[in-house]
Amino acid sequence: MQSIISDYNYWVYILLMMIGFYAMLAKNNLIKKVIGMSIFQTAIIIFYVSIGAKEHATIPIIAHGHGAVEAAIDVAHYANPLPHVLMLTAIVVSVGTLGVALAICLGIHRRYNSLEEDEIEEQLQ
């Protein structure tokens, strides 16, 4: 049981990565490919945040307040903030890339009147 808990996050990250990768390669519809790309991105975010998680740790905001006792800060008491920072900006950038990807899809649809990969290929030939 302990080994399942300690590895389950990584298994799910691999599984999601495979789902996203397969959708990007095999799906015929361009919007489905974009969804696959987004799933791929979230899989990587799961990987990073899982690395930053610590057992018995709390959120990375230091307990403070007026009149609070200045206690020594225990590192093991707070989750690792560095992966959180990197992934926070990655999520916001992912909405930017999603916007560009959907804009390209709309541009393709404007010209070929289709979002299906094989139909676009037929028109290209």
Partner: protein, 340 residues
Amino acid sequence: MIWQLDLSILTLIVICAFATIMVKDLLSAAIIFGAYSFLMCLLWTEMGAVDVAFTEASVGAGVSTVLFIAAIYQTTRKVGVRKSGRLLTKAVALVATLITGLVLLIAEADFPGFANPFTPASLHLSPYYITQTLHDTNVPNIVTSVLADYRGFDTMFETAVIFTAGLAVIAILRRFKKEDRCDIPGPYVISEAHPDTIIRFIARQLVPFIQLFALYVVAHGHHSPGGGFQGGVILGASFILLAISFDFKMVLGIMSERLNILLGNIGVLLYAGIGFLCLLLGANFLDYSILSKVLPATDTIMARSHGMLGIEIGVAIAVMAIVISIYFNIVSRGKYDKGL
């Protein structure tokens, strides 16, 4: 951390991912993907990454879903019927996917166990941030201080990336002429919509509170989860809500294209400008402690805190403008005439 929650949320996430890929209707896929993002948000909270959860809730579950729906509105919700010739493509893709998964699974054997506090990632750099943040910058939210101060240079270019994405969407989609050579008539109709009084009333009542909350998220990011990125996205979402529930033109009257692009520029310039101000005062780029020379009644520690607030405001303005601009361009196909 509660491992029962962890296991069940992760299982639900995998089910949602499968459903999103398998479902035959694009609108359903977009909605299931929204549910997937909300589950992700729960997972981040469960792992203690509250700032990431906040971002995922506003960006992943909120704006991404709206962008998908806008794109489907402009194209079609139907997935085409499959032709027999794609069997080879699928087989190749399956083999490639399985090989990738196998390689990752072999690598996974070397990973440190989940939730182990002594992983290499948690031993070298992050203890400095955790122990010194309050002492260096007087900001208790470590994520904000690392984002805006210790790694401020990184975040500046992240903002620039979002700005560039906004420019790219405008460059791809924006059409200024009425007639376009390769244009096709009318968007796909999802449903015959009539203006709904209840939705309009509720949206009108909600928008001021949403915007107030967004300002709180920006200003209070030092002490609680939140900050410029989240607040900016929520501000942008309030305008998108108005555009969906009311008229597209009405929102364009409040937030014209010219003003929107101007705001995007001002946001990025504010960030870089604070960096240059630090340079002019004689310190390194984005070293806010020198700002105590110009800010009244601040020591070098509080100056870093105030500097962070300044760049968070810049990020919020830029992100708000870019989110609105991307949505407007996608939903009107770059013609700014009518929307969802």
